[in-house]
Every structure is written in C-alpha cells, then in structure tokens.
C-alpha cells in the first residue's frame, strides 16, 4: 500500500504540536531555567550552577527529599504487596463479586480533595479513627495524627496507600486472570495448599504486573503533592513537606522559578534512575 510522504505527518501533526508545546519545549525550558535566576517579572538571568549549588546547601531541600524517600520506602512496598492479596480475594466467581470490586475502586475515582477532607475528619484527636483504635485496645491515648510532627507524614502516607489499593488491585487482577486454570489444578493434584499456591505459582507469574506496579507506584511516590497540600499543608513545622511540595512553594509562593526548576530537574533525574533501577532489578528476573 502506497502513501503520500506527507500523510503520516498530517496524522501526527496535531498531537505533535501539543506534545511539542507542552512537553518538549517546557522540558528544555525547565533545564534552561534551572541555570537562571528568574522571578517572572524580570528577565531570566544566567547564573550557571548557582541554583544547584544553593540547593545542595539548602537544609529545607534535603529535608523535603528525605520525606520523599521515606514516602518511597514505606508506600511503594505497601502498594506493591497489599493489592496482590486484594486481587486474589476478588478473583473468584461468586455472587456479588462485581459489587465488591466496584466498591474497592471508589477511593480511586474520588478526587483527592474529597479524600483529604474525609481523612482530615477521621484523623481528628477525638475522631473516629482514634476511637476505633482505642476500642481495639491498640492505643491508650488519642494520637494527634495531623498536629504532631512525628505522625503527620505517616498519616498522609496512609491516605496515599488507601487511595491506591483499588487501582493496583485491578492491574493485578488482570495479571491473575491471565494465569491458566490448569496451573492451579495441577498444583492441587500435587497437594499444594493455598499459601504454597500463592507463593509458588501466583507470585512468580505475577512478576510482570509486579514490575508495572512497582514502577508506577515509585513514580507516583516521587511526585506526591496533592494529599499533602490538602491534608497537612506540609506541616506541622515542615514535617510532611515532600520534594514536589517544596518545588511548588519555591515556584508559586516565593516565585523562585529558576531555583524551583533546578529542584525539578533533580526530581526528574531521581525518577528516571528509579525507573531504570526497577527495570534492571525486576526486569532481569523475568527477561523483560
């Protein structure tokens, strides 16, 4: 089939204009801005590596990076592992299962602002969560979830995990449903119990899905912002500020656009490194 040489170009044109204007050009521009001093009002002034140098000595930057890494270490394993069990739980053909799957997905489609309000209310000192924890004898004193510097980050991480469970559950569900039934039957004949079935059959066959989820949830953890903006506002005393929150504040509160861009470039480099590492470590095992 022949085609006019311009035909592919015409089809690609609208999309490429948008990607060019809103991704390629801004990427280059962000890198350029990271070498400048820019406050929107005056013209950008080239300062070389000054922004990076300053970032390196900025304790608030390191503090926010530290929170982001804690986020990554706590949230990613939870979002990689818990949804597997959820997916196993809902991967059965029993009455009403579609209803449960949908209910589990509701936190995913709900806007983060409403989720934030919901949890803010649960986290009150005399709120429902403290009440339930006391009822179960897990705590003696109410926890000051959002007003204490030692728990604010944990509180926001719990919300991120809670909101993400249903999303990753569906990804695993797709993976589970591509495992042929014969494998389970063969395992049963060999006398495997549920736990053995889970660890010996399901986990290895889910490796491709685990890779996807681990990349997606790491990228999401690096970029976490909304939960923090809505629930804690980064506080108390910066105890829940993450990297993107820091970038947002520098750029749009303080108008340090060049400086914030430098932090953005670092965010990008870490995200890139994480994706590559994920592919290398988990990809090797499944020859992806």
């Amino acid at each position: 089939m022949k085609h006019h040489p311009l035909t592919p170009l015409l089809f690609l044109l609208p999309g490429c204009i948008i990607l060019g204007t809103f991704i390629f050009y801004p990427t280059i521009n962000a890198i350029w801005l990271s070498f400048t001093n820019y406050n929107i009002v005056d013209k950008p002034k080239y300062v070389g590596l000054e922004n990076y140098n300053q970032l390196f000595h900025d304790s608030m930057f390191w503090y926010s990076l530290y929170h982001t890494i804690i986020y990554l270490i706590c949230v990613v394993p939870a979002l990689v592992i818990l949804p597997i069990f959820l997916a196993i739980l809902v991967n059965r053909k029993i009455k009403g299962i579609a209803f449960f799957r949908s209910v589990y997905y509701i936190p995913v489609v709900t806007s983060i602002v409403v989720v934030g309000i919901t949890w803010d209310w649960l986290y009150k000192d005399n709120g429902l969560l403290n009440y339930i924890l006391q009822l179960l004898n897990l705590i003696n004193q109410p926890i000051h979830w959002l007003t204490s510097t030692s728990t604010s980050l944990i509180a926001v991480m719990l919300v991120t995990i809670w909101k993400g469970l249903g999303y990753y559950m569906v990804i695993y569900l797709a993976g589970l449903q591509s495992i042929p039934d014969e494998l389970y039957e063969a395992a049963e004949i060999d006398g495997a119990n549920s736990w053995k079935k889970t660890t010996r059959i399901i986990f290895p066959l889910l490796m491709p899905s685990i890779l996807i989820v681990s990349i997606m949830s790491s990228i999401a953890a690096m970029k976490v912002f909304e939960e923090i903006y809505v629930i804690t506002g980064g506080g108390p005393l910066h105890s829940s500020e993450t990297l993107v929150f820091y970038i947002f504040k520098e750029a749009f509160d303080k108008l340090n656009m060049g400086y914030a861009s430098a932090a953005g470039v670092i965010l990008f480099l870490i995200t890139l490194a994480l994706s590559v590492a994920n592919l290398k470590i988990l990809g090797k095992e499944n020859n992806i």
Binding site: S111, T118, W121, M222
Partner: protein, 292 residues
Amino acid sequence: MDASKFGAPKRNNYSYGKKMKLIFKNLLVYILLILVGIVLIGPFLWLLSTALKSGSENIFKYPPDLIPNHITLSNFSKVMEAFPFWRYLFNSTVVSIFTVILNTLFCSLAAYPLARINFKGRNIVFLLIISTMIIPFQLLMIPIYILAINLGLQNTYAGMILPHITTAFGIFIIRQGMITIPFELDESAFMDGANRFQIWWRIILPLTKPSIVTLAIFTFVSSWDDFLWPLIITNDQNMYTLPLGVNMLMGTFSSDWRLISAGAIISVIPIIIVFVLLQKYFVNGLKGAIKG
C-alpha cells in the same frame, strides 16, 4: 483443596463434608470482602453520617455516634446556598468534556500512522513520544505556567484544557488497539478507492472502540480529579473546578464540619454517577490497557 478458591466449583458431586467446607469457606470470603469494604468505603460513610447530623447534635462527641440521631438534609441546602456548586460543576464539565474529546481525537489520529503506515523514522517518532511518559509534570509545570501566562491563558478554559489534550499514554493505548486489526481491511478499502483519512475514520476507528473508550474514561477521571494544574493556572474563583471549589470549603466553613462534609459529599455525586454507569469499562478497560 477445592477449586472454589480461584473460581466457581466445576463439579457438583461434592460429599456432604466437602459441601460444608465450601459453605464455610465462602462465608469466610464474604466476611473478608465486607471487612475490606468497610475499610475502603467506611471513611466516606462516616463523612455522609456527619453531613446528615442536625445542628443540635454534637459532632465532636466522644465516643462518636455512628448514625445521626435525627437525619436532616438542611446541611446540604445550606452548603448549596453558600457554595457555587453549579458554577464549579459547569467548569469541571466543560474542562473534562473538551479534554476527553480532543485527547481521544488527537491520540487516535497520531496512533494511526504509528500503527498502520510504514514510514521512515516511525520507530524514532514512537520512541520520542513514549519517552515523554517519564518526564514528570511537576518539572514542566513551571515553564508551562510561564508559557500559559504569556499566551494569556490564565483563568481560561483553554489554559486548563490545552496541556492535557495529547498524552503518550493515550497514543500508546490506541496504537496497541490498532495494531491487532488485520491489514487486509486497509488494503481492500484502498482498492475501493478510499483515502487514508477515510480508512482511519470509517474502518479503523470503529474497530478501535474498546481502546478509545478506555482512554476516554481514564482521561475523564484524571481531568475531573485534577487539582495541581487548575490550582496553578486559575486564581479567579469563577473559573474554579470542583476540586478547587471543594478545597475552599475548608476555609469558608472553617470548623463547621457538617457543612464541609455536605459539600464534599455533593461534589462526589457526579463522578460516582459516571462511575456507576460505566463501571464495567473502568475495571475491564484498565485490564485491557495493561494487557495490551
């Protein structure tokens, strides 16, 4: 072990003992399903319960009352008076609908040559497009903001819509859908004198419908729930989308949690309706997207 753990039982000739075991097991499964359900939906029900409590009831009571003593809808009507819900709903609808239409259109246009025309440099173009997936929007938001200000897009619908109307994810999903269609279809249409645009519109697009629906739903949800970009590009409350409007509730009603809860509940009704109507596409679409 029986097969019920991973699927419906295939045989009916269970012994009595086995049957009991199966019933017990299913009961256990339902209890687990309900417990998880409470964890995932309970927080919303608690918010709803708070929104239904009347002013005479102490919402900060400890231990809390799970169910309101007197159910009242007055908080909802009060919040509707103070909070321009319809305005925000209208803004959210305009932004989401245009984003969905343009994104699915541009992505399916761009996906077509990438899937079905053998042109020079195709792989490079595809790779370039896919590589944009790893660039975080949080890096781009500063230059896009500056660009949007210079183009006069602050506080406009266009400003909220334009950056999101072509995504690498969308092109990828639709290309995956298009690749599986047999190439004979294009060729026979070509023989009949159809041009490339007609082939795309009349033959390929209808056959790519599942991928398009998936992309449309994903785009709708992410656009409807988007918070960061509208927060940056609007400062005029008349242009606020629902998430921004709801975020204001906390400030407006400071500590009147009955009204905050009522406002939050009202704001999720539209997306819950869409979700209930299209729920099979949500779950199946995501599965399809991953498999593809």
